[in-house]
């Protein structure tokens, strides 16, 4: 078995590395850079029942070691995703994680039901945490009762395992995670973006047309690590971690925190080859720190292990 092979509910993966939803479209663009089959999986762009234009532009703004986005779930709609986007990805040998979004519970149920029937969709990711849509979205992501209820409804109709994507914009992430686990989720993905804002110095007004946006990139990594560390100790379902990953060392940190696989978002924009580069470098990094398989790193920050002595001379 390879050092990287990773099995999670619905996902038999060559490695634990995948692009994060919204940062890789439906794969087409990056397919011109490299063979997508090297990836563990792909978390494709959020899909809603109908096509959505999303927010006005500007939709992105830069911040220190991070960026804000307020795309607003632009997507071609369920029909086109099923007929064109997902079939395109069939050429590549990997399970797809389909990101499900909508304005209300019935949207999620409809999209989940249909997408879960598509051949190469290995799992669903419920995007209950997108801070950039005005209705639905965010409300699901901060109320454990509502989130649990939605999870149950989607589990009833989905033919593949369901992962729920957690918002970091909450007082108590463990409470959210537990409620969602109890509602039957097969896994968690975390974290989505932190709500943030930038103001234009000249006009005084928000840089983003949507005013607020989601903060991603290296800036949020410590928040992601902390939340995964807390949640992974309290739930028994796997976590796909994300938030500021840019290299193989970052992947290790997420695994240590308690993630079983790791997604890369913003870094794809900086280096379109970041995912294959991480996959290539990961075995060597694992070896350097004394691991024979990625799974040995999972939860190492809190599981009982012998501590590695450090002597610096």
């Amino acid at each position: 078995m390879s050092m990287l092979e990773t099995r999670l509910p619905g996902l038999e993966m060559k490695n634990p590395i995948m692009p994060a939803s919204g940062c890789f479209g439906f794969g087409r663009e990056y397919a011109s850079f490299y063979d997508l089959s090297v990836l563990g999986s792909i978390m494709v762009k959020a899909t809603t029942p109908e096509p959505r234009f999303g927010n006005a532009t500007p939709r992105v703004a830069e911040t220190s070691a991070g960026m804000l986005n307020a795309i607003g779930l632009q997507n071609p709609g369920l029909k086109k995703v099923m007929e064109e986007e997902l079939p395109f990805l069939e050429t590549y040998k990997l399970p797809i994680i389909a990101n499900v979004a909508g304005g209300g519970a019935e949207d999620y149920v409809q999209v989940a039901k249909e997408l879960s029937t598509v051949k190469n969709v290995g799992a669903l990711e419920l995007n209950i945490s997108c801070p950039n849509v005005k209705h639905g979205g965010i409300a699901f992501g901060v109320d454990p009762v509502v989130a649990a209820d939605l999870t149950k409804k989607v589990k009833e109709v989905s033919e593949v395992p369901v992962y729920v994507k957690l918002s970091p914009n909450v007082s108590n992430i463990v409470e959210m995670a537990k409620a969602i686990e109890q509602a039957g989720a097969d896994g968690l993905t975390m974290i989505n973006t932190l709500m943030g804002m930038r103001l234009d110095l000249k006009t005084g007004t928000p840089v983003l047309a949507n005013k607020t946006g989601g903060l991603s990139g290296p800036a949020i990594k410590p928040v992601a690590i902390r939340m995964i560390y807390e949640v992974s100790q309290q739930v028994n379902i796997p976590i796909i971690g994300m938030g500021g990953v840019t290299n193989a060392e970052d992947v290790l940190e997420f695994l240590y925190a308690g993630a079983s696989a790791v997604a890369v978002g913003t870094a794809n924009f900086v280096d379109p080859f970041v995912c294959p580069t991480i996959i290539e470098e990961l075995p060597e990094v694992l070896q350097r720190y004394g691991y024979d398989h990625v799974s040995e790193c999972i939860g190492r920050s809190w599981k009982k292990h012998e501590s590695v002595a450090g002597y610096r001379a």
Binding site: E29, G54, T57, V60, I71, T246, A267, V270, P272
Partner: protein
């Protein structure tokens, strides 16, 4: 095919107030042919700034495998870029997008090239390619003020060239549209790149008169069509859109809403 390369700095010089001309060398140049395409630059190997910077290709030299960009050092990214010394390397992704349709102009026709500020650079490669084809080119270039003017002489070598400055410190006082009106310039095609208010004015005035191609700017994430940061609506109230990075940056007037 789009690719990524660490390209070598061949020359790097200030040519006007805060404006630099940067020439890079590398195999990627062989992929460059359309004027109006752009490259996406990473200015250091940290993640601060996080995003790449889109900069137009201003001149392509296939023989030397070199190309030139002209950019304004304004914010964090472009200021860091301006510190690159000859011999250092710059991380270039590209060429990206779809440029100006040189094929839209035929030998003997007159094309007018309208540029505003740092919208001027891509017109230089365009002008050369049009001239090479036997197209007569007329350049109308707008700047804020005398210290901002660049490349006037280079454009003059290719064809008639008019310069306007907003404050009147150089050339005609006013906007590019003032020159076109005053000089009663006639043309078979118009190619333009500059700030949106300028493009809107051109579209309003000349859309019916001749084919008009506009190069747009938009804040970008990926630069390759994956993130939906850079979309333009195609018509009011529809979900139809174009991406500036991969469908543009050059659009035919009317193709997208300005």
């Amino acid at each position: 095919m789009i690719q990524k390369e660490m390209m070598r700095v061949i020359s790097h010089e200030p040519i006007a107030r805060h404006i630099y001309a940067l020439t890079l060398e590398g195999a990627l140049v062989t992929e460059m042919n359309e004027p109006g395409q752009f490259v996406h630059l990473r200015v250091n190997d940290q993640y601060n700034p996080v995003l790449r910077r889109p900069i137009s290709i201003a001149n392509i030299d296939q023989i030397r495998e070199q190309f030139t960009m002209i950019y304004r050092a304004e914010g964090l990214g472009t200021k860091l870029l301006s510190e690159k010394a000859v011999g250092e390397h710059v991380d270039v992704l590209g060429p990206l997008g779809n440029g100006f349709p040189v094929e839209a102009s035929s030998e003997g026709e007159t094309a007018i090239l309208v540029g505003g500020g740092i919208g001027v650079p891509p017109l230089y490669e365009l002008s050369q390619q049009l001239v090479a084809k036997g197209v007569k080119v007329v350049h109308v270039l707008g700047f804020q003020s005398a210290p901002d003017v660049f490349y006037e002489e280079k454009f003059m070598k290719l064809g008639e060239t008019y310069v306007a400055t907003v404050d009147g410190t150089y050339g005609t006082k006013g906007f590019v549209t003032d020159i076109i009106e005053q000089k009663q310039l006639s043309f078979d095609q118009m190619y333009a790149c500059g700030p949106v208010p300028m493009l809107r004015a051109l579209e309003g005035n000349y859309h019916d008169r001749a084919p008009l191609y506009l190069s747009l700017e938009q804040r970008m994430g990926c630069g390759v069509g994956a993130c939906f940061a850079c979309v333009c609506p195609v018509e009011e109230g529809s979900t139809a859109y174009k991406k500036v990075c991969s469908d543009g940056p050059v659009f035919k007037a009317g193709e997208v809403l300005l």
